[in-house]
Subunit: 352 residues, 2 copies
């Protein structure tokens, strides 16, 4: 096994996705009515995105099976996770009323703008179209996943994929339930993190890849001990970027998280550390539907003054260390451990 | 093989679904936050519904394998199709803004009413919750499907399931695109029927069951020749019930199809047969957002006066005959052919 090149893996996944969108094979006789729908999803999936889930899926497989006879099934499985993620984001953006994602208009905005000024209600059409296009991306994720795996691989992988889909959707539901609640319920915030990110973004992609590669119990255990803290660190970094990030780099406005009143661990920590007047101010602003950039500045000041930013940075460092420690094991191929170390560093240090 | 008892199959599927909703196993540690979400989906899935897809799936399997060693995997696969259908209906009802389904409030209505009168916007919350609950039902469909099938069965069944999901979602998209268009584009109406009903409601469930039971090429061919006309007849009956049905029996208001401006074969035929004044009236009324019951009466008069009702009834009869003729074959076990005959009769003659 040579060096594991993360950029090369991303390139392979992007090629598999791009090939999948070929209208001649995908539409199967329903052109021209379906051309725009394929283009909109294709544009969304192929432009931007960190590809962290497919890369982890490939690394999970290589951890179990460092020299796979054929890489195509592996890359398709990984691409299927990216397609599933696109579906989740399309639905998420509708629910959050986000106008941009990855620096481009969101799918419901693109579709609403196509009908703007017609006799139909463009906004509602955008919502409906995004529901269907998200569902379509889900169906396409299935197609990609089962396209090349053997029956045995499918039998090992599918219960994991079903569990991942269950977890992330339950996380979405808890998120929706708690948004605007502005409570300091740390257990709930922790649960949302576990479901929406620690499992979904890091551990499940690794374990799905590992299952396809027929991993031993030891390898699976190592990936779990690595994946959970990386997932948590990833989410905490996301929480910070959601308030302190540069919108030109993150591709989304800094008011988004605040306007939604996202139930993040960041806010839970802040509410716990805040003085009564600070807590009251935070409760007023977090979840305010028309929050201004100046008000987000006030949120930032409270997060800094209460020491919350420092606390969360410490947590990120602790999780990062725990993840690296889990990689000190003879059970992983060295090249895979090196690549996982790079990913952990990137998850923690990124600015988007 | 004894008599195939359709009510018994429905009972088995209902038991599998009811067992699946056990919060202790399903929620996996996220109670109590998730209790209401499980209850809402459970109420929707277990109350009402004709169970036509799961029954056909079971018959498809029995057509290929009349004495399966164990029925549990077969019933779970069939129940998974019903769960998938619930997901599609939950999203469909949001898009159509339908208030009732199967005589009960739709999922987005139930969720909106839970938040009515609070500081949050109840209507938008209902929409978001229904998007997530639909996605959750999709994830649960996966869980049911892969719960008991062998790897070989999964390998045969999954490409078919992925194709079914693709087709029905493309059908939804075409439906959304064409609603309110009020055109006489018969090709498009035909395509929507093929995708949304002929394949989805009848042929795919049969063929998914047949694939799981490892059907021969002959059996698959017979099921196709039977399934396509039954699906078309089923949809045409649905179109008629959508305008002429008794809302107390169908469980949905007679204004729903008209208000949406549903692009049905019924309306396409009417526009083709109508005089210019009739066509203009129909174009005004079909898709009118605030259509009244009196105006639906006018639509009914035009459909009758133009001979459209008679034409569509003839088409239904032709499809019904073609389906029964396909069953005249030595390739199907007699009991399965008898059951399929009963289903064809019910699809054509039903009043809900």
């Amino acid at each position: 096994m040579g060096m594991v090149d993360l950029d090369e893996i991303r390139g392979e996944v992007d090629s598999a996705l791009a090939g999948f969108f070929d209208p001649a094979t995908l539409a199967g006789g329903i052109e021209p009515h379906s051309d725009d729908m394929i283009e909109v999803i294709e544009g969304f999936v192929l432009t931007g995105g960190k590809r962290i889930r497919p890369v982890l899926c490939v690394l999970g497989w290589l951890a179990a099976d460092p020299e796979p006879r054929c890489r195509a099934p592996l890359i398709d499985l990984a691409a299927g996770l990216e397609m599933f993620h696109a579906a989740i984001l399309i639905h998420d953006d509708v629910m959050d009323r986000s106008a941009t994602r990855r620096g481009r208009p969101t799918v419901h905005r693109v579709m609403a703008d196509l009908r703007a000024g017609t006799e139909q209600d463009g906004e509602w059409y955008g919502t409906c179209a995004a529901i269907v296009l998200g569902d379509l991306a889900l169906a396409w994720a299935d197609k990609l996943t089962c396209r090349r795996l053997t029956a045995d691989q499918l039998g090992r992988v599918l219960p994991q994929i079903a569990q991942m889909r269950h977890e992330v959707t339950v996380g979405q539901y808890l998120d929706l339930q708690s948004a605007g609640g502005r409570s300091a319920d740390a257990d709930l915030a922790e649960m949302i993190i576990r479901y929406k990110t620690a499992y979904y973004t890091v551990y499940r992609p690794l374990s799905i890849g590992a299952a396809a590669g027929n991993a031993s119990r030891e390898v699976t255990r190592v990936l779990h001990h690595y994946g959970m803290p990386v997932g948590k660190a990833f989410q905490l970094r996301d929480d910070l970027l959601g308030v302190f990030g540069d919108p030109l780099v993150t591709g989304k406005p800094v008011t988004d998280d605040a306007r939604e009143g996202k139930h993040t661990a960041l806010i839970t920590h802040a509410l716990t550390a805040a003085s009564p007047p600070q807590a009251m101010k935070l409760a007023q602003l977090w979840g305010k539907p028309d929050i201004t950039e100046a008000e987000v500045d006030t949120v930032r000041e409270i997060l800094t003054a209460t020491g919350t930013v420092r606390t969360v940075e410490h947590l990120i460092t602790d999780h990062h260390r725990a993840a690296l420690a889990a990689l000190d094991t003879p059970h992983l191929p060295t090249e895979v451990a090196d690549a996982l170390r790079t990913i952990a560093d990137q998850a923690v240090e990124r600015d988007r």
